[in-house]
């Protein structure tokens, strides 16, 4: 290498440095530390259709829900195809932590009060930690406030209670497709006859498919496993739309289930789709930000 070529090489490097100053700067700030990227918005709301979805209320947010289910469509024109009757549940839910949500509700069906917790164990993520699914535990206690059917005999408060336990296992496959599996256990302290199951097991599957940026089709099906209940009742199947209207999400659906909580859905659904024994329903919600993010404190 002689002097001349060295100088040429040197000046070329120098020119390059000048020319690519901007790109070079950009590269300098683009070296990213690998981080865990959590998957957001697997479903739009805390409800898949009528059952629970993997989503929890956001931290510091209070959500007011009104769930409304009309009577059976096959009830005919006298009942205006079910619109004359309705079952409603009014409820509040709150996000205590990113992984923990709690809620209370009251449904007109069997005059039932309920309280629940939903805790996240695993969060679907990519990047530094790869996790294929999100898993939540959901559990509730329901108290029926119906008058005793036989007030003369000794009645126990515990007879009013029923419980539900669920594992919610979900994966967002793409921005438009999310699938969820829901092994469910429901326990009734008191059942009608000695032969009836106190414990009903079922396996649910559901999903959502976005048909536009703001509208998705959701479906949900529970296969009742417990034999005696299976013979007496039907598997709940629901299908509907999630419609985002800017401020909140509006859900419209049809279902053969009349109940609004797990105890009334899994194991107490008697409507048959093929008989037109289906109900039109909707959920509306309103979110209140109770605890603001740090940046917005005191502003």
């Amino acid at each position: 290498m002689n002097l001349k070529s060295t100088i040429i090489a040197a000046s070329m490097i120098w020119i390059q440095l000048g020319l690519f100053a901007q790109d070079d700067l950009m590269n300098m700030i683009s070296e990213e530390k690998p981080t865990i990227e959590y998957t957001d918005a697997t479903f739009k709301t805390t409800f898949l259709v009528i059952g629970q979805s993997i989503e929890n209320p956001p931290v510091g947010n209070l959500i007011f829900n009104v769930q409304h289910r009309f009577g059976a469509i096959n009830s005919g024109s006298y009942d205006f195809f079910g619109l004359d009757q309705a079952v409603t549940r009014i409820a509040f839910q709150y996000g205590l932590a990113e992984w923990l949500g709690i809620g209370i509700g009251r449904s007109s069906y069997k005059k039932t009060y309920d309280g629940w917790v939903k805790a996240k164990f695993l969060r679907q993520s990519t990047g530094l930690r790869k996790m294929p699914v999100s898993i939540d535990y959901y559990g509730n206690i329901a108290v029926s406030a119906l008058k005793w059917s036989e007030p003369d005999r000794t009645n126990f408060f515990s007879s009013r209670l029923s419980f539900a336990n669920q594992l919610l296992i979900a994966r967002k496959f793409s921005p438009g497709v999310s699938i969820q599996l829901v092994p469910t256990h429901v326990h009734y302290n008191l059942v009608e006859t000695k032969e009836d199951d106190n414990d009903v097991f079922s396996l649910g599957a559901g999903g959502r498919f976005k048909i536009s940026k703001r509208v998705s089709i959701n479906f949900e099906y529970y296969y009742i496993i417990s034999q005696q209940t299976r013979e007496q009742y039907t598997d709940p199947f629901s299908i509907g739309f999630d419609i985002e209207t800017g401020g909140h999400v509006f859900q419209l659906y049809v279902s053969n289930a009349e109940g609004l909580i797990e105890e009334h859905i899994m194991g107490r659904t008697s409507g048959k789709w093929w008989n037109g024994d289906i109900h039109f329903g909707f959920n509306i919600s309103r979110t209140f930000t109770i605890k603001k993010p740090k940046k917005f404190m005191g502003e």
């Binding site: 002097l3 060295t6 100088i7 700067l25 700030i29 957001d40 956001p58 209207t245 979110t287």
Partner: protein, 191 residues
């Protein structure tokens, strides 16, 4: 032979001289604010990457869209899911230049007005933008501030008709960065 070594030494010196002319931050603050009759939208991001070369006047930004924090969680979700589509377009970038760098003396502490032109990329759409701001030079840092406006339509961000009255068409963007001189230590701690 001696001259050759001398030249190589000069090259090495020249290429290492980026230390001392480059300023960088990983914790810059960018926020935006838009007001409409029904809904005021504001979001803050305090993890902005930015770098400036005081010799060439080049200035660059890289902003992770998911790091914007909104007052309402639902708004933040909609911003990422529907408007910015941060799964597909995770970053916004700006590559530009200080056009009046001859008026700025980076070796003398003081506050200088700066004019900046460059290309802003949001939602995978690039537009030329111009902004004015101030650069406050201190012995330790360069503190840059700027405010400018963009039209969301310019970046192919569609506001659906149902919320058309709720969301403003133009957004004010505020920039506040404290750049530190790049040296080997800061590069190490930054990464």
């Amino acid at each position: 032979m001696k001259t050759k070594y001398l030249i190589i030494t000069i090259i090495v010196l020249l290429s290492t001289s980026v230390f001392g002319q480059r300023y960088i931050t990983k914790t810059g603050h960018i926020w935006f604010h838009s007001e409409a009759p029904l809904e005021t939208i504001e979001a803050h991001n305090s993890q902005v990457n930015a770098a400036m070369d005081i010799k060439t006047g080049a200035i660059v930004f890289k902003v992770l869209m998911k790091s914007f924090i909104f007052e309402k969680a639902l708004m933040q979700e909609h911003f990422n899911e529907n408007y910015i589509e941060s799964t597909f377009y995770p970053n916004a970038t700006f590559q530009g230049k200080i056009t009046n760098s001859e008026n700025i003396d980076f070796s003398t502490p003081g506050t200088y007005n700066a004019e900046i032109t460059g290309e802003l990329t949001i939602h995978n759409v690039t537009n030329k933008v111009m902004a004015t701001g101030t650069l406050e030079v201190t012995p330790e840092i360069i503190h840059g501030k700027s405010k400018f406006s963009i039209q969301v339509a310019d970046y192919n961000i569609r506001i659906p008709d149902v919320v058309a009255g709720k969301i403003a068409e133009d957004v004010d963007i505020y920039v506040d960065i404290q750049l530190k001189e790049l040296n080997k230590e800061s590069l190490k701690s930054a990464n």
